[in-house]
Amino acid sequence: MRPRVPIPSRYRLFAAVACAVSTVVLAHAAQTPQQPPAPPTPPPQTTPTQPPAGGRQGGGRGQGQTQPGTFPAQQRPPGDPALIERGRGVYTATCTACHGADLRGGQLGGPNLLRSLVVLNDKEGELITPIVKGSRAERGMPPLPLPDDDIRAVAEYIHSVLATSGRQGGPPGVAAPAPDILTGDATAGQAYFTAKCGSCHSPTGDLQGLATRVADPRVLQTMWVSGGAVGGRGRGASASGAQRKPITVTVTAPNGEKVSGRLVRIDHFIVTLARDDGSFQSFRRVGDSPRVEIQDPLAGHKALWSVLTEKDIHDTTAYLVTLK
């Protein structure tokens, strides 16, 4: 066995020579991350003993079933951890400058390997090896004098990262912190809140301590815009902790008799309500008879969606996060 990490000194030497240009860029990159203020993207930490993250993608299949990965990249059996680790070391020293620490393209313009058709079709380095050896020199990929078994190790490392790709073609999950969404002006947000929301909501009433109950500003913003539970669906307790008011309906028969209750379902032909005692009553609808009136506690929010600007949203959120 070769030593795993760090890689043999002769490859470090090679890296320094073959990528003489890139050492400058690397040093530059280390000081000026691509995405300020986030730190440089760390190499993905693959754990080959875990099932691939993408292994259950594909949508809506039965629970409790052991499903193979959707595509070959995720169906691939876990590779030899020692080989992957060795490949990681060779990759870091030799490939990062051009292809990126996360394999998604680097400072020197090398392509994203996680969407590379060569990588996707490669099994054990048989397609990657000729390219590393110079078959694409005219397209900018310099020949690298790596031994075959090192190239094989790099291929195994690349496949191990690819196996962790996300759903719907997304990249592997990155450890970088989510960007801070708070960019609005809290003072302007308070003014907006007072003008548009104050008739139903109060910072000292129903929204007291809101930002303590909902600590994540993104969740809080989605919640207040939608008017309740995140995602705008479902009944009962909302993310704010308050009991969400149900949609109610009043049905007026031709003889003037009225029945009210919680709206269960409605289409052109039937309306069904639940009474306070838990019983249900449904009515046949023919055109406008019987008369059906729906009281939607979210009507105010729904009316806002068509007129809200991004500035209003972000300002109001900046204000609401102060309601600790």
Binding site: G58, P68, T70, L117, G232, H268, E310
Partner: protein
């Protein structure tokens, strides 16, 4: 109808019924005829109208529509149990290259359009296909494809040429079956499984071409292909993004590498104009879908209508419905061909109601822009039109770190569900969903994300969903019939319209509904469950049938005792 005519008609019907043995095929020339007794291709005919000339079921008689039969289709190699479809053919015919480790989903949803040819229905779900007796739904054969995997989201149905059927599989095979027996003739890999393509489209047969598109969520190039119906050999392959230096459209991408990973997957069936020999189809979203990584250009030929000559495979024209799309708004929707007089001039036109909330009419011979209007009531991402008739994007509605409130949702005002056009009313019918999403950019790296990654996109709700009728000559909405108190859902499955003055489609309450094609008012319904496919209609034994699916169950409705002679 007179008794004399009745006497004359009955023996003819009997004779034709005895001659037309089940499982017999169709002449490709039959596909050029107006849609009537049969339903021989995805949209019924090549025009995409989903307009049947049948009118036994009309605004009056539809009120007497009754259930003729129902059958539950059970996916997998075992088959037979759980429904009334059993008792027909022998065992399940099994094909495929998989190891058999892919879990079977026995209640796979029917989203495809069945074919009805010579008293036989041909129905698909992912990895599964059936021939059923159109009279009672009895199974004639069941073909099961042992898959290697792939995204099992839908199968849109069969294409048919003479006595042969063609279907795509999620692991990217074009499979040809004998219509009579369900036995496999051959299968060809039409896109790379390694590269994460998956295939759902109903192949469209034009002359001696089997036209097949595929899908992919990963950053890969889209392409449309044509195959020989006899041998499955590739006839041509049209890439929908620039693939080589000098290719048209390359200047709308930051690099050749970006273009070659730019998406534009044609994953739904298109339409065909025999006069110009043009097959006209829509392309999917650019990739990465929501983030940077595609420069500032229009990213041709993503989210576009594209016309290709069926014999040469060369692109004749394109019209982009979402330049530099930032919201996963495919324009893969099946368009509709029609002729109309616009500004005093007779025009050959094609219309599409795009997923992005805008409606477009284009000259189908030249690709010249005719009409752009906004049909999504809440659609909020546009800032008027550019000189070429495309929509100018409001960059405030791009995915942003702090969140952007966008309508429609990434799912669109319409998604895959086919629209319909009725030449009697001159109206284009489409489902219109007015949802809002907050789209948060989570991947700010200037390289962009990959596929559909790089955002969180919770739905916040909606302000109504409608069956919407549009005058395609000017793009104006003639009427909207709202699904009562529904925010952003409803209207799944797609639409059918007929010479009986009707539009059929699923609503948001689990009903199949017949609407007045002139006014949009509902006339008849049956609560069969959430409608999952486009309804079709066909004539059998003098009775017009309406066939529709809810999940994995097919329902056939008829007039129990129709007027004795055909009112056609």
């Amino acid at each position: 109808m007179t008794s004399k005519r009745l006497l004359y008609t009955a023996p003819v019907l009997l004779a034709s019924a005895m001659l037309a043995a089940q499982g017999r095929g169709i002449d490709p020339a039959d596909l050029l005829k107006p849609l009537g007794d049969q339903w021989p291709t995805y949209s019924g005919d090549y025009s995409g109208k989903r307009y049947s000339s049948l009118k036994q079921i009309n605004q009056t008689t539809v009120k007497s529509l009754t259930l003729a039969w129902t059958v539950r289709l059970t996916d997998g190699p075992g088959g037979g149990f759980g429904g009334r479809g059993g008792g027909g053919g022998g065992g399940v015919i099994v094909g495929g290259e998989g190891k058999g480790d892919w879990p079977i989903q026995p209640d796979g949803t029917i989203k495809g359009t069945p074919l009805m040819v010579n008293d036989t229905l041909y129905v698909t779900t992912p990895d599964n296909a059936w021939a059923l007796d159109a009279r009672d739904g009895r199974e004639l054969w069941h073909f099961f494809w042992r898959t290697r995997g792939g995204t099992h989201i839908a199968n849109r149905g069969f294409g048919m040429w003479k006595d042969y059927l063609y279907m795509e599989t999620p692991d990217n095979y074009l499979v040809s079956l004998e219509a009579k027996t369900g036995k496999e003739r051959w299968h060809k890999e039409i896109a790379s499984f390694n590269e994460q393509y998956f295939s759902t489209m109903a192949p469209i047969v034009v002359g001696n071409h089997v036209i097949a598109g595929t899908g992919n969520d990963l950053d890969t190039p889209g392409f449309l292909q044509s195959f020989d119906p006899e041998t499955g050999e590739l006839q041509w392959k049209l890439y929908t993004v620039p693939m080589n230096p000098g290719d048209p459209g390359l200047d709308t991408w930051p690099s050749l590498d970006a273009a070659r990973h730019g998406g534009a997957q044609p994953w739904l069936p298109g339409v065909y104009d025999p006069e110009t020999k043009l097959y006209i189809f829509g392309t999917g979203n650019p990739t990465p879908a929501f983030t940077q990584g595609r420069g500032e250009g229009d990213n041709l030929f993503t989210s576009s209508l594209v016309a290709v000559n069926v014999d040469t495979g060369k692109m004749a024209w394109y019209f982009q419905t979402s330049p530099h799309d930032m919201h996963d708004w495919d324009s893969a929707q099946t368009p509709i061909l029609f002729d109309a007089t616009v500004n005093g001039r007779r025009r050959k036109l094609v219309s599409t109601a795009a997923r992005n909330g805008y409606f477009y009419t284009v000259d189908r011979v030249t690709g010249e822009h005719v009409v752009t209007t906004k049909y999504g009531t809440a659609t909020n991402w546009g800032l008027g039109l550019r000189p070429d008739g495309t929509v100018k994007r409001n960059n405030d509605k791009n995915p942003s770190v702090s969140g952007s409130l966008v309508s429609p949702t990434p799912g669109g005002t319409i998604n895959w569900e086919p629209p319909a056009y009725n030449p009697d009313t001159g109206l284009f019918y489409v489902t219109e969903r007015n949802g809002f999403s907050l789209i948060y950019l989570t991947e700010t790296d200037p390289r962009g994300s990959m596929g559909l990654g790089g955002v969180e996109r919770p739905t916040v709700g909606g302000i109504g969903s409608f069956l919407t009728a549009i005058d395609p000559k000017n793009g104006k909405v003639a009427w909207r019939e709202q699904y009562p108190f529904v925010g952003e859902g409803g209207g799944g499955g797609g639409l059918l319209t007929t010479a009986g003055g009707l539009v059929f489609g699923g609503d948001a309450g689990g009903n199949i509904v017949a609407y007045n094609a002139t006014t949009g008012k509902p006339i008849w319904h049956s609560r069969i469950g959430t409608v999952s496919n486009p309804p079709i209609t066909y004539m059998l034994d003098g009775r017009q049938h309406l066939l529709v699916a809810a999940n994995n169950v097919l329902y056939a409705f008829v007039l129990y005792d129709p007027p004795a002679a055909r009112t056609r």
